[in-house]
Amino acid sequence: MVIPTPFQSQIYRSLPEIERADAIVDRITTAIRLGLLKVGERLPPEAALSEMFGVGGATLREALAELREQGVVETRRGRSGGTFVVTQPRPQTDSIREWFLSTSISEIRDIGDEQAAVAAAIIRLACERAEAHDVERLQELARALVLATSPEGRALADSRFHIELAVSAQSPRLANAEIRLQEETVQQLWTPIAAALDPEPATAEHLELVRAVAQDQPAKAGNLVLEHIRRNIYHLIDTKLTLGYARSNQDAP
Protein backbone atom coordinates (compact mmCIF):
# COMPACT_ATOMS: atom_id res chain seq x y z
CA MET A 1 0.00 0.00 0.00
CA VAL A 2 1.22 3.49 -0.75
CA ILE A 3 1.01 5.67 2.31
CA PRO A 4 0.99 9.38 1.52
CA THR A 5 3.72 11.14 3.49
CA PRO A 6 3.12 14.56 5.05
CA PHE A 7 5.09 15.99 2.16
CA GLN A 8 2.66 14.47 -0.33
CA SER A 9 -0.47 15.43 1.56
CA GLN A 10 0.89 18.97 1.56
CA ILE A 11 1.10 18.87 -2.24
CA TYR A 12 -2.28 17.33 -2.81
CA ARG A 13 -4.30 19.31 -0.30
CA SER A 14 -7.45 20.77 -1.78
CA LEU A 15 -7.20 24.31 -3.03
CA PRO A 16 -9.42 26.96 -1.51
CA GLU A 17 -11.33 28.91 -4.20
CA ILE A 18 -9.50 32.13 -3.34
CA GLU A 19 -6.10 30.52 -3.98
CA ARG A 20 -7.28 29.33 -7.36
CA ALA A 21 -8.28 32.86 -8.41
CA ASP A 22 -4.91 34.16 -7.18
CA ALA A 23 -3.15 31.40 -9.08
CA ILE A 24 -4.89 32.47 -12.31
CA VAL A 25 -3.87 36.10 -11.73
CA ASP A 26 -0.27 34.94 -11.15
CA ARG A 27 -0.21 32.76 -14.25
CA ILE A 28 -1.48 35.50 -16.50
CA THR A 29 0.72 38.29 -15.14
CA THR A 30 3.80 36.05 -15.31
CA ALA A 31 2.92 35.06 -18.88
CA ILE A 32 2.70 38.74 -19.84
CA ARG A 33 6.02 39.53 -18.14
CA LEU A 34 7.71 36.69 -19.98
CA GLY A 35 6.21 37.83 -23.26
CA LEU A 36 4.15 34.67 -23.70
CA LEU A 37 1.09 36.96 -23.85
CA LYS A 38 1.52 40.28 -25.61
CA VAL A 39 -0.08 43.66 -25.03
CA GLY A 40 -3.08 43.89 -27.38
CA GLU A 41 -3.64 40.14 -27.36
CA ARG A 42 -7.15 38.84 -26.68
CA LEU A 43 -7.57 36.14 -24.02
CA PRO A 44 -9.76 33.15 -24.93
CA PRO A 45 -13.50 33.52 -24.09
CA GLU A 46 -14.52 33.12 -20.44
CA ALA A 47 -16.12 29.71 -20.94
CA ALA A 48 -12.96 28.36 -22.57
CA LEU A 49 -10.76 29.89 -19.86
CA SER A 50 -12.72 28.35 -17.00
CA GLU A 51 -12.63 24.98 -18.71
CA MET A 52 -8.86 25.18 -19.33
CA PHE A 53 -8.07 26.34 -15.80
CA GLY A 54 -10.57 23.82 -14.43
CA VAL A 55 -12.37 26.40 -12.29
CA GLY A 56 -15.96 27.57 -11.98
CA GLY A 57 -17.22 30.72 -13.69
CA ALA A 58 -17.30 32.67 -10.42
CA THR A 59 -13.63 31.96 -9.66
CA LEU A 60 -12.59 32.94 -13.18
CA ARG A 61 -14.60 36.19 -13.04
CA GLU A 62 -12.97 36.97 -9.70
CA ALA A 63 -9.52 36.51 -11.26
CA LEU A 64 -10.39 38.67 -14.28
CA ALA A 65 -11.80 41.38 -12.00
CA GLU A 66 -8.49 41.44 -10.11
CA LEU A 67 -6.53 41.69 -13.37
CA ARG A 68 -8.81 44.57 -14.48
CA GLU A 69 -8.28 46.25 -11.13
CA GLN A 70 -4.48 46.01 -11.64
CA GLY A 71 -5.02 47.57 -15.07
CA VAL A 72 -3.41 44.61 -16.80
CA VAL A 73 -6.44 43.59 -18.86
CA GLU A 74 -9.55 45.36 -20.11
CA THR A 75 -12.88 43.84 -21.05
CA ARG A 76 -14.65 45.32 -24.07
CA ARG A 77 -18.28 44.66 -25.00
CA GLY A 78 -19.67 44.13 -28.44
CA ARG A 79 -18.91 42.02 -31.51
CA SER A 80 -15.16 42.51 -31.46
CA GLY A 81 -15.23 42.46 -27.65
CA GLY A 82 -13.45 40.21 -25.17
CA THR A 83 -10.71 40.52 -22.58
CA PHE A 84 -7.51 42.12 -23.86
CA VAL A 85 -4.04 42.52 -22.40
CA VAL A 86 -3.57 46.30 -22.18
CA THR A 87 -0.37 46.81 -20.25
CA GLN A 88 2.71 45.19 -18.74
CA PRO A 89 2.13 44.36 -15.06
CA ARG A 90 4.03 46.65 -12.69
CA PRO A 91 7.28 45.24 -11.33
CA GLN A 92 6.49 43.66 -8.01
CA THR A 93 9.37 44.79 -5.84
CA ASP A 94 7.53 43.71 -2.71
CA SER A 95 6.90 40.20 -3.90
CA ILE A 96 10.48 39.92 -5.18
CA ARG A 97 11.83 41.03 -1.80
CA GLU A 98 9.49 38.56 -0.12
CA TRP A 99 10.83 35.77 -2.37
CA PHE A 100 14.40 36.51 -1.32
CA LEU A 101 13.50 36.60 2.35
CA SER A 102 11.45 33.40 2.29
CA THR A 103 13.68 31.27 0.02
CA SER A 104 16.65 29.65 1.75
CA ILE A 105 20.11 29.34 0.23
CA SER A 106 19.72 25.57 0.04
CA GLU A 107 16.55 26.08 -2.01
CA ILE A 108 18.25 28.60 -4.33
CA ARG A 109 21.13 26.16 -4.84
CA ASP A 110 18.58 23.44 -5.61
CA ILE A 111 16.84 25.62 -8.22
CA GLY A 112 20.27 26.05 -9.83
CA ASP A 113 20.79 22.27 -9.79
CA GLU A 114 17.53 21.75 -11.67
CA GLN A 115 18.28 24.58 -14.11
CA ALA A 116 21.68 23.01 -14.78
CA ALA A 117 20.14 19.60 -15.47
CA VAL A 118 17.53 20.98 -17.85
CA ALA A 119 19.96 23.36 -19.56
CA ALA A 120 22.57 20.63 -20.08
CA ALA A 121 20.04 18.46 -21.91
CA ILE A 122 18.71 21.39 -23.95
CA ILE A 123 22.13 22.55 -25.10
CA ARG A 124 23.22 19.05 -26.13
CA LEU A 125 20.07 18.60 -28.23
CA ALA A 126 20.31 22.13 -29.63
CA CYS A 127 23.82 21.33 -30.91
CA GLU A 128 22.44 18.28 -32.70
CA ARG A 129 19.19 19.73 -33.94
CA ALA A 130 19.38 23.49 -34.42
CA GLU A 131 19.63 24.77 -37.99
CA ALA A 132 20.90 28.00 -39.49
CA HIS A 133 17.71 29.99 -39.00
CA ASP A 134 17.53 28.92 -35.33
CA VAL A 135 21.05 30.21 -34.86
CA GLU A 136 20.22 33.57 -36.43
CA ARG A 137 17.15 33.90 -34.28
CA LEU A 138 19.08 33.04 -31.12
CA GLN A 139 21.73 35.64 -31.96
CA GLU A 140 19.04 38.25 -32.32
CA LEU A 141 17.44 37.23 -29.00
CA ALA A 142 20.84 37.29 -27.29
CA ARG A 143 21.45 40.88 -28.44
CA ALA A 144 17.99 41.93 -27.21
CA LEU A 145 19.26 41.49 -23.65
CA VAL A 146 21.91 44.20 -23.85
CA LEU A 147 19.51 46.48 -25.73
CA ALA A 148 16.80 46.24 -23.06
CA THR A 149 16.46 49.40 -21.01
CA SER A 150 14.69 48.23 -17.83
CA PRO A 151 15.06 45.33 -15.39
CA GLU A 152 11.71 43.96 -16.61
CA GLY A 153 12.90 44.21 -20.22
CA ARG A 154 16.10 42.34 -19.35
CA ALA A 155 14.15 39.64 -17.54
CA LEU A 156 11.94 39.26 -20.58
CA ALA A 157 14.85 39.10 -23.04
CA ASP A 158 16.85 36.70 -20.87
CA SER A 159 14.01 34.25 -20.33
CA ARG A 160 13.02 34.46 -23.99
CA PHE A 161 16.54 33.50 -25.05
CA HIS A 162 16.61 30.43 -22.80
CA ILE A 163 13.10 29.32 -23.77
CA GLU A 164 13.88 29.64 -27.49
CA LEU A 165 17.08 27.68 -27.01
CA ALA A 166 14.83 24.85 -25.77
CA VAL A 167 12.58 25.44 -28.77
CA SER A 168 15.58 24.97 -31.08
CA ALA A 169 16.24 21.68 -29.29
CA GLN A 170 12.86 20.47 -30.64
CA SER A 171 11.60 19.31 -27.25
CA PRO A 172 8.23 20.61 -26.03
CA ARG A 173 8.80 18.98 -22.63
CA LEU A 174 12.17 20.63 -22.14
CA ALA A 175 10.74 23.93 -23.37
CA ASN A 176 7.96 23.65 -20.77
CA ALA A 177 10.49 22.83 -18.05
CA GLU A 178 12.55 25.87 -19.11
CA ILE A 179 9.45 28.12 -19.05
CA ARG A 180 8.64 26.96 -15.52
CA LEU A 181 12.22 27.53 -14.33
CA GLN A 182 12.41 30.96 -15.96
CA GLU A 183 9.11 32.00 -14.37
CA GLU A 184 10.49 31.01 -11.02
CA THR A 185 13.64 33.18 -10.95
CA VAL A 186 14.16 35.53 -13.91
CA GLN A 187 12.53 38.58 -12.26
CA GLN A 188 14.64 37.99 -9.15
CA LEU A 189 17.79 37.73 -11.27
CA TRP A 190 17.41 41.12 -12.94
CA THR A 191 15.90 43.14 -10.13
CA PRO A 192 18.22 45.92 -8.98
CA ILE A 193 16.91 45.45 -5.42
CA ALA A 194 20.43 44.85 -4.02
CA ALA A 195 23.10 44.98 -6.76
CA ALA A 196 22.06 45.00 -10.42
CA LEU A 197 23.34 42.24 -12.68
CA ASP A 198 25.38 43.53 -15.63
CA PRO A 199 23.66 42.59 -18.93
CA GLU A 200 26.88 42.84 -20.97
CA PRO A 201 28.70 39.72 -19.74
CA ALA A 202 25.38 37.84 -19.76
CA THR A 203 24.84 38.82 -23.40
CA ALA A 204 28.42 37.85 -24.27
CA GLU A 205 27.81 34.44 -22.66
CA HIS A 206 24.57 33.98 -24.60
CA LEU A 207 26.34 34.82 -27.88
CA GLU A 208 29.18 32.45 -27.08
CA LEU A 209 26.61 29.73 -26.39
CA VAL A 210 24.97 30.36 -29.77
CA ARG A 211 28.40 30.10 -31.47
CA ALA A 212 29.05 26.76 -29.78
CA VAL A 213 25.60 25.53 -30.93
CA ALA A 214 26.26 26.78 -34.48
CA GLN A 215 29.60 24.95 -34.57
CA ASP A 216 28.07 21.82 -33.00
CA GLN A 217 30.44 21.75 -30.02
CA PRO A 218 28.31 20.10 -27.33
CA ALA A 219 31.10 19.75 -24.72
CA LYS A 220 32.06 23.40 -24.96
CA ALA A 221 28.40 24.53 -25.01
CA GLY A 222 27.66 22.35 -21.99
CA ASN A 223 30.47 23.89 -19.96
CA LEU A 224 29.45 27.40 -20.98
CA VAL A 225 25.83 26.94 -19.97
CA LEU A 226 26.76 25.44 -16.58
CA GLU A 227 29.12 28.34 -15.89
CA HIS A 228 26.39 30.80 -16.94
CA ILE A 229 23.90 29.22 -14.52
CA ARG A 230 26.44 29.07 -11.71
CA ARG A 231 27.08 32.79 -12.07
CA ASN A 232 23.35 33.53 -11.99
CA ILE A 233 22.85 31.40 -8.89
CA TYR A 234 25.76 33.16 -7.15
CA HIS A 235 24.12 36.46 -7.96
CA LEU A 236 20.80 35.29 -6.45
CA ILE A 237 22.61 34.05 -3.32
CA ASP A 238 24.52 37.33 -3.00
CA THR A 239 21.24 39.22 -3.23
CA LYS A 240 19.73 36.91 -0.62
CA LEU A 241 22.71 37.47 1.71
CA THR A 242 22.54 41.24 1.26
CA LEU A 243 18.78 41.43 1.89
CA GLY A 244 18.54 38.77 4.56
CA TYR A 245 21.85 38.88 6.41
CA ALA A 246 23.43 42.30 6.24
CA ARG A 247 26.80 42.13 7.96
CA SER A 248 27.00 43.73 11.35
CA ASN A 249 28.66 42.86 14.60
CA GLN A 250 25.52 42.86 16.65
CA ASP A 251 23.57 40.05 15.07
CA ALA A 252 25.31 36.98 16.44
CA PRO A 253 22.88 34.54 18.12
Binding site: M1, V2, T5, I105, S106, I237, D238, A252
Partner: protein, 237 residues
Amino acid sequence: MNPDREVVQAAHALTLWFRGVSVEINHLSRNVASLLESSLAGRSTVNKGALVGLEELAHEFLTRNASAIGAGMFFATDSIDEGGRPREWWTREPDGALKRLDFDSTPGSRRYYDYEKLPFFSAAASTGEQTLWGPYVDYLGFEDYILTVSAPFWVRGRFMGVVGCDIRLRDLEPLIMPTLRLIHDNAALINASNRVILGNSGMYLVGERVRSESAHQHRLALDVPHLGLSLIYTTTT
Protein backbone atom coordinates in the same frame (compact mmCIF):
# COMPACT_ATOMS: atom_id res chain seq x y z
CA MET B 1 48.77 31.06 11.39
CA ASN B 2 46.34 31.92 14.13
CA PRO B 3 42.73 32.38 13.14
CA ASP B 4 41.36 35.89 13.27
CA ARG B 5 39.37 37.03 16.22
CA GLU B 6 36.16 36.96 14.12
CA VAL B 7 36.76 33.31 13.18
CA VAL B 8 37.34 32.32 16.80
CA GLN B 9 34.25 34.24 17.84
CA ALA B 10 32.11 32.54 15.18
CA ALA B 11 33.51 29.09 16.00
CA HIS B 12 32.71 29.68 19.65
CA ALA B 13 29.11 30.72 18.92
CA LEU B 14 28.57 27.70 16.62
CA THR B 15 30.10 25.35 19.21
CA LEU B 16 27.73 26.63 21.87
CA TRP B 17 24.72 26.27 19.60
CA PHE B 18 25.47 22.67 18.59
CA ARG B 19 26.45 21.71 22.14
CA GLY B 20 22.99 22.89 23.12
CA VAL B 21 21.41 20.48 20.63
CA SER B 22 23.76 17.72 21.76
CA VAL B 23 22.85 18.16 25.43
CA GLU B 24 19.14 18.10 24.58
CA ILE B 25 19.48 14.87 22.59
CA ASN B 26 21.42 13.19 25.41
CA HIS B 27 18.70 14.29 27.77
CA LEU B 28 16.01 12.78 25.51
CA SER B 29 18.01 9.56 25.21
CA ARG B 30 18.29 9.22 29.02
CA ASN B 31 14.60 10.01 29.52
CA VAL B 32 13.51 7.44 26.95
CA ALA B 33 15.79 4.80 28.46
CA SER B 34 14.53 5.33 32.00
CA LEU B 35 10.88 5.39 30.89
CA LEU B 36 11.34 2.08 29.03
CA GLU B 37 13.24 0.58 31.89
CA SER B 38 10.24 0.97 34.14
CA SER B 39 7.54 0.21 31.53
CA LEU B 40 9.28 -2.95 30.28
CA ALA B 41 9.61 -4.26 33.82
CA GLY B 42 12.27 -6.80 32.91
CA ARG B 43 10.98 -7.80 29.45
CA SER B 44 13.50 -7.33 26.65
CA THR B 45 11.18 -6.38 23.77
CA VAL B 46 8.87 -3.42 23.36
CA ASN B 47 5.15 -4.01 22.91
CA LYS B 48 2.48 -1.39 22.30
CA GLY B 49 1.87 -0.83 25.99
CA ALA B 50 5.50 0.01 26.63
CA LEU B 51 5.27 2.93 24.23
CA VAL B 52 3.00 4.90 26.56
CA GLY B 53 4.68 8.11 27.66
CA LEU B 54 7.14 8.36 24.74
CA GLU B 55 4.88 10.81 22.92
CA GLU B 56 5.01 13.13 25.90
CA LEU B 57 8.81 13.03 25.92
CA ALA B 58 8.99 13.85 22.21
CA HIS B 59 6.46 16.66 22.62
CA GLU B 60 8.40 18.07 25.53
CA PHE B 61 11.56 17.97 23.40
CA LEU B 62 9.90 19.76 20.48
CA THR B 63 8.44 22.39 22.79
CA ARG B 64 11.86 23.13 24.28
CA ASN B 65 13.69 23.05 20.95
CA ALA B 66 11.96 25.35 18.49
CA SER B 67 14.62 24.81 15.81
CA ALA B 68 13.78 21.09 15.45
CA ILE B 69 11.02 20.17 13.00
CA GLY B 70 10.71 16.58 14.22
CA ALA B 71 11.83 14.31 17.04
CA GLY B 72 11.29 10.82 18.33
CA MET B 73 12.77 7.38 18.43
CA PHE B 74 13.44 4.38 16.17
CA PHE B 75 13.72 0.90 17.69
CA ALA B 76 16.11 -1.83 16.60
CA THR B 77 14.04 -4.52 14.85
CA ASP B 78 15.02 -7.20 17.35
CA SER B 79 13.87 -5.08 20.26
CA ILE B 80 10.22 -4.82 19.21
CA ASP B 81 7.41 -7.29 19.76
CA GLU B 82 5.07 -8.50 17.06
CA GLY B 83 2.55 -5.65 16.71
CA GLY B 84 4.82 -3.09 18.35
CA ARG B 85 5.62 0.02 16.33
CA PRO B 86 9.24 0.26 15.10
CA ARG B 87 9.31 4.05 15.29
CA GLU B 88 7.67 6.86 17.19
CA TRP B 89 8.25 10.19 15.47
CA TRP B 90 6.47 13.52 15.75
CA THR B 91 6.76 16.55 13.51
CA ARG B 92 5.78 20.16 13.80
CA GLU B 93 3.02 21.17 11.41
CA PRO B 94 3.07 24.64 9.76
CA ASP B 95 0.47 25.80 12.33
CA GLY B 96 2.67 24.61 15.21
CA ALA B 97 0.60 21.50 16.05
CA LEU B 98 2.57 18.29 16.64
CA LYS B 99 1.64 15.32 14.52
CA ARG B 100 2.73 11.69 14.43
CA LEU B 101 4.67 10.91 11.25
CA ASP B 102 3.75 7.65 9.54
CA PHE B 103 6.39 5.63 7.77
CA ASP B 104 5.94 2.60 5.61
CA SER B 105 7.55 -0.22 7.56
CA THR B 106 6.61 -3.15 5.33
CA PRO B 107 9.85 -4.59 3.95
CA GLY B 108 9.65 -4.94 0.18
CA SER B 109 6.95 -2.32 -0.29
CA ARG B 110 7.66 0.55 -2.65
CA ARG B 111 7.89 3.16 0.05
CA TYR B 112 9.60 1.04 2.69
CA TYR B 113 11.69 3.26 4.97
CA ASP B 114 14.63 1.04 5.88
CA TYR B 115 15.85 3.24 8.70
CA GLU B 116 18.23 0.66 10.17
CA LYS B 117 20.42 1.11 7.10
CA LEU B 118 20.37 4.90 7.28
CA PRO B 119 23.43 6.54 8.87
CA PHE B 120 21.50 8.41 11.58
CA PHE B 121 20.54 4.96 12.93
CA SER B 122 23.43 2.72 11.89
CA ALA B 123 26.20 5.13 12.95
CA ALA B 124 24.66 5.70 16.37
CA ALA B 125 24.13 1.93 16.74
CA SER B 126 27.66 0.92 15.72
CA THR B 127 29.60 3.62 17.57
CA GLY B 128 27.37 3.83 20.62
CA GLU B 129 27.77 7.61 20.43
CA GLN B 130 25.80 10.60 19.34
CA THR B 131 26.00 11.37 15.64
CA LEU B 132 25.09 14.07 13.15
CA TRP B 133 23.95 13.10 9.67
CA GLY B 134 23.23 15.49 6.86
CA PRO B 135 22.53 17.64 5.01
CA TYR B 136 20.52 14.88 3.29
CA VAL B 137 17.26 14.51 1.38
CA ASP B 138 15.18 12.34 3.70
CA TYR B 139 13.38 10.42 0.98
CA LEU B 140 10.40 8.42 2.33
CA GLY B 141 10.95 9.80 5.82
CA PHE B 142 10.23 13.44 6.48
CA GLU B 143 10.94 14.15 2.79
CA ASP B 144 12.76 17.40 3.24
CA TYR B 145 16.36 18.58 3.16
CA ILE B 146 17.49 18.09 6.74
CA LEU B 147 20.14 17.39 9.37
CA THR B 148 19.49 14.65 11.92
CA VAL B 149 21.18 14.53 15.31
CA SER B 150 20.72 11.13 16.93
CA ALA B 151 21.91 9.14 19.94
CA PRO B 152 21.58 5.47 20.93
CA PHE B 153 19.74 4.32 24.04
CA TRP B 154 20.09 1.15 26.08
CA VAL B 155 17.92 -0.60 28.62
CA ARG B 156 19.83 -2.73 31.13
CA GLY B 157 22.88 -2.71 28.87
CA ARG B 158 20.95 -3.82 25.81
CA PHE B 159 20.89 -1.58 22.71
CA MET B 160 17.25 -0.75 21.99
CA GLY B 161 17.34 1.94 19.30
CA VAL B 162 18.10 5.62 18.72
CA VAL B 163 16.46 8.90 19.60
CA GLY B 164 16.93 11.90 17.39
CA CYS B 165 15.72 15.17 16.00
CA ASP B 166 15.49 16.65 12.52
CA ILE B 167 16.45 20.22 11.69
CA ARG B 168 15.52 21.58 8.27
CA LEU B 169 18.34 23.36 6.44
CA ARG B 170 15.96 26.22 5.72
CA ASP B 171 15.30 26.64 9.45
CA LEU B 172 18.97 26.34 10.38
CA GLU B 173 20.09 29.02 7.92
CA PRO B 174 18.62 32.07 9.72
CA LEU B 175 19.88 30.69 13.06
CA ILE B 176 23.55 30.32 12.16
CA MET B 177 24.06 32.57 9.13
CA PRO B 178 24.45 35.73 11.24
CA THR B 179 27.33 33.98 13.03
CA LEU B 180 28.98 32.87 9.78
CA ARG B 181 28.58 36.39 8.41
CA LEU B 182 30.78 37.67 11.23
CA ILE B 183 33.63 36.20 9.20
CA HIS B 184 34.61 38.41 6.28
CA ASP B 185 36.51 35.70 4.39
CA ASN B 186 34.67 32.86 2.68
CA ALA B 187 33.75 30.43 5.43
CA ALA B 188 31.54 27.41 5.99
CA LEU B 189 30.39 25.00 8.62
CA ILE B 190 31.10 21.45 7.39
CA ASN B 191 30.30 17.97 8.68
CA ALA B 192 32.57 14.98 9.25
CA SER B 193 32.44 14.02 5.55
CA ASN B 194 33.52 17.51 4.42
CA ARG B 195 30.02 18.38 3.27
CA VAL B 196 28.95 21.98 3.61
CA ILE B 197 26.12 22.54 6.11
CA LEU B 198 26.08 26.28 5.48
CA GLY B 199 28.48 28.75 3.91
CA ASN B 200 28.60 32.53 4.23
CA SER B 201 28.90 33.17 0.47
CA GLY B 202 28.42 31.51 -2.91
CA MET B 203 31.86 29.88 -2.60
CA TYR B 204 30.73 27.18 -0.19
CA LEU B 205 27.21 26.03 -1.02
CA VAL B 206 25.14 23.86 1.28
CA GLY B 207 25.33 20.19 0.28
CA GLU B 208 28.55 20.51 -1.74
CA ARG B 209 31.67 18.62 -0.69
CA VAL B 210 34.84 20.53 0.01
CA ARG B 211 37.59 18.74 -1.86
CA SER B 212 40.58 20.97 -2.34
CA GLU B 213 42.80 21.59 0.63
CA SER B 214 44.62 24.66 -0.61
CA ALA B 215 47.19 26.54 1.42
CA HIS B 216 44.65 29.33 1.85
CA GLN B 217 41.98 27.05 3.25
CA HIS B 218 42.03 26.61 7.02
CA ARG B 219 40.08 24.34 9.29
CA LEU B 220 39.01 24.70 12.88
CA ALA B 221 37.38 21.67 14.51
CA LEU B 222 34.43 22.57 16.73
CA ASP B 223 34.57 21.16 20.23
CA VAL B 224 31.24 19.36 20.15
CA PRO B 225 31.78 15.68 21.02
CA HIS B 226 31.14 13.12 18.24
CA LEU B 227 29.33 15.44 15.82
CA GLY B 228 32.38 15.90 13.56
CA LEU B 229 31.77 19.59 12.88
CA SER B 230 34.44 21.95 11.58
CA LEU B 231 34.61 25.53 10.45
CA ILE B 232 36.61 26.15 7.29
CA TYR B 233 37.62 29.53 5.95
CA THR B 234 39.81 30.82 3.18
CA THR B 235 42.24 33.65 3.52
CA THR B 236 43.54 35.60 0.58
CA THR B 237 47.00 36.23 1.99
